[in-house]
Symmetry: C2
Subunit: 138 residues, 2 copies
DNA sequence: GGAGAATAGGTGCATATACACGCATCATGA
DNA sequence: TCATGATGCGTGTATATGCACCTATTCTCC
């Protein structure tokens, strides 16, 4: 193949593909729990943070605010989180319900299995370093 | 902070965050062209492949078939690609229009700028290797 | 040539992501 | 206290992603 016909690969597209594959892998591992990795990570973060205003939760997750709000929808519908006005009437305080806590506990072994399988093949530090570099470069 | 309060970071969530940041970076760079990086990559691939059946295009891009189909929608609405039945009446042949070719040409410098900025900070080979490892491990 | 398998797509549904815009509430300073 | 800016959210819109299920067409083998 001549040099001219070579196409420079897009770094972003490559990373997006890797992320799709990794997400599918985690979602498959988590399937018995009924949670996706995105949902599990929100619940887990809530468990760690305790009741948290929506915007703060989004900032912690490095997610756009409205993205977080909509990601919470299915969790609220399923009764895993509750969303209530705070003392500041503008705020929405998000917190885990008992069912949400149970869901995290039930899903954690599946998540750990996915983590173990992936981290056996690749070093998390490499991913973290790459993520940091990308976020800094972006 | 005690060891117990430490939370093991989720490899998948870290990668998803990096991908969001990187995608936003490319999309911002491409904004003058009116294309997103996902759209640009489809057009570029089409330019390389020539007229291609939908499923084949999806396989090349490592995208789910229906995802590719729907990602083509806005491109077709804008007249950048055309989708026609093939000799095999089941197939849909996707091809670039002249406007699509022009759009790729116009967007390429912006994409190259994004590539240069990112690849100056991180090695594409590292991303590619990570992607391969993740896809293999997944 | 016809029955059944295989292939190519389409549609419905659900989640994930993010921008633009607007509303309600709170804080601040004159 | 009241105008004004800041803050927190919700909604509309659009794209991105993928599963389950269905239809239409083609192929294969008898």
């Amino acid at each position: 193949m001549s040099a001219e016909s070579q196409i420079e690969p897009c770094t972003c597209v490559a990373l997006r593909r890797a992320t799709r594959a990794l997400t599918a892998s985690y979602d498959a591992a988590l399937r018995p729990s009924g949670l996706r990795v995105t949902q599990f990570s929100i619940l887990r973060r809530l468990e760690r943070l305790g009741p948290t205003p929506l915007t703060r939760l989004a900032i912690e997750a490095v997610l756009e605010r409205t993205t977080m709000a909509r990601n919470l929808d299915p969790l609220e519908r399923r009764g895993l989180v509750k969303i209530e006005p705070g003392r500041d009437a503008r705020e929405r305080i998000v917190s885990l319900t008992d069912a949400g806590r149970e869901a995290v506990a039930a899903a954690t072994p599946f998540w750990q299995a996915a983590q173990a399988r992936i981290n056996a093949q690749i070093d998390f530090k490499a991913v973290a370093a790459l993520a940091d570099a990308l976020i800094a470069a972006a």
